[in-house]
């Protein structure tokens, strides 16, 4: 219920508390990362969530966007490669491949 309230309020601190109490559920464990994708775009938070769900396409995409927004292109290549490998037919992957994607969309 703490996780649910954290999600409704987009409260990262509350989501972190829920994740530390009950890390066994993927939703609860990765919630701080998802809230971060929607709000602050904190790279560390999203990367931590991704470690708990390494093949998550939407978290990987969130991390790509966060890095793009920060203008940090050092790790983007590897991330984009992973993302395209995970969801090759998604519109986001096609956008990344043909260069029509930007972090502001």
């Amino acid at each position: 219920m703490l996780g649910q309230r954290a999600w409704e309020k987009r409260d990262i601190a509350m989501a972190r508390a829920a994740a530390s109490i009950f890390p066994f559920n993927r939703y609860i464990r990765t919630q701080p990362g998802y809230i971060s994708v929607l709000t602050t775009g904190d790279v560390e938070e999203i990367a931590a969530a991704l470690r708990g769900d390494p093949f998550s396409a939407d978290l990987t995409f969130g991390l790509i966007r966060a890095y793009m927004a920060r203008g940090d292109h050092f790790v983007l290549g590897g991330l984009i490669h992973n993302f395209i490998r995970l969801v090759p037919n998604s519109p986001q992957a096609k956008g990344l491949l043909n260069g029509t994607f930007s972090s502001t969309r």
Binding site: M1, G3, Q4, P23, F24, N25, R26, Y27, R29, G52, D53, P54, F55, S56, A57, D58, F61, L86, V87, P88, N89, S90, Q92, A93
Partner: protein, 357 residues
């Protein structure tokens, strides 16, 4: 109408337990995942009777040990802890099943609790939106398909013990949910139970209903093709020793070449046999042995267990607390019976001996 086939008090305990389990989860009130049902099972199982330790129990324990060991090679072991907890609960339900002689009160309690969902689903049918559900009426089960499947299995459970009046609480789910799988499961169960041309006619009528429902639904066969795509992706990820407890949820996207995991993230391949093979590989042989053992026993629980296995081929009954309990109790009852020499009748014989009506 209560039956007293069990020791004093045990029947009432099963009735209350069944009722509580069926009403435990209230969407968006007791959380946004089916956690409360598992909590009820966790709290209740230590107080429920257990059968004598037999070969089936040892097989189950061997499987649990393998599942625990598989955390060593699981990609995200913390997810596996959750899966292990669910497996222990399934094992507890199975052990409870080996001790149950007359499940009437349990089926009755579950059906009465399910009646609450049917009342809510009826209101949802008329447009009430007080409790969250996806599209079609689903009572407390959120998903109409799950609601229909639980209704189908509980209807068969009641038929198996010849307790007909509570069917008014369970059977409406077949119509309200529009679930083809539920209708097919009931058709199979009726054929197994009655073994007559009348049952065949009812089964035929249900099959006709399935095609009617399919032809009128907007999704039509889309869910079938999605399932087949998931199964193929899952087969691509199979290994000899499995990928470890809880690994389907984590590693499936790596093999999902036919499913876009950006738009949907399956938690389950919608086929329990494939999921167990994916996560536990050869370790699944212990479960297969238990299933094989149960098939040697005769008894009315076959009316429930075989349709339950049919549902397991297309969905995830071990992930729904009510379905998990019913399936594991039936499995436990049949295994206990097949292991007791005095009950060792060939399958198909001695049916009447074990009908509780």
């Amino acid at each position: 109408m209560l039956r007293h086939g069990e020791p004093f008090g045990q029947g009432y305990m099963m009735l209350v337990f069944g009722f509580l389990l069926a009403v435990a989860y209230i969407p968006n009130v007791t959380g946004h995942a089916i956690l409360t049902g598992w909590i009820v099972l966790t709290l209740a199982l230590p107080f429920l009777p257990k059968g004598q330790l037999g070969a089936a129990h040892w097989l189950g324990l061997a499987f649990l040990a393998y599942a625990a060991a598989s955390l060593a090679w699981a990609m995200v072991p913390v997810q596996g802890v959750w899966e292990l907890w669910l497996l222990v609960l399934l094992g507890g339900c199975f052990a409870f099943g080996t001790a149950v002689r007359d499940p009437c009160n349990l089926w009755l309690g579950l059906s009465l609790g399910f009646g609450v969902s049917t009342a809510i689903a009826g209101a949802q049918w008329f447009g009430w939106q007080g409790i969250y559900h996806i599209q079609l009426p689903a009572g407390l089960f959120v998903n109409s398909g799950i609601y229909g499947e639980v209704g189908a299995i509980l209807t068969l459970a009641l038929i198996s013990v010849r307790l007909y009046w509570p069917i008014v609480f369970t059977a409406p789910a077949l119509a309200l949910s529009g679930s083809r799988l539920a209708l097919a499961a009931v058709a199979i169960g009726l054929l197994i139970h009655f073994k007559s041309w009348k049952a065949a006619l009812v089964a035929l009528a249900l099959a006709g209903s399935i095609f009617y429902v399919t032809s009128t639904q907007r999704t039509q066969w889309a869910s079938v093709s999605e399932r087949v795509a998931m199964w193929k992706d899952t087969v691509d990820g199979l290994t000899l020793f499995g990928r470890g407890a809880g690994s389907f949820l984590i590693t499936y996207p790596a093999f999902a070449s036919r499913t876009d995991t950006m738009t949907q993230r399956p938690e389950d391949p919608h086929n329990e046999f494939l999921r167990f093979a994916y996560e536990y590989g050869l370790g699944t042989a212990a479960i297969a042995a238990i299933l094989l053992l149960s098939m040697f026993a005769a008894g009315p629980e076959r009316t429930i267990l075989i349709p339950w296995l049919f549902i397991a081929f297309f969905d995830f009954p071990t992930r729904i607390p009510v379905l998990a309990l019913v399936g594991m109790v039936c499995l436990g009852m049949l295994c206990a019976r097949s292991l007791e020499r005095r009950y060792a009748w060939p399958a198909g014989l001695g049916e009447k001996r074990y009908s509780y009506g």
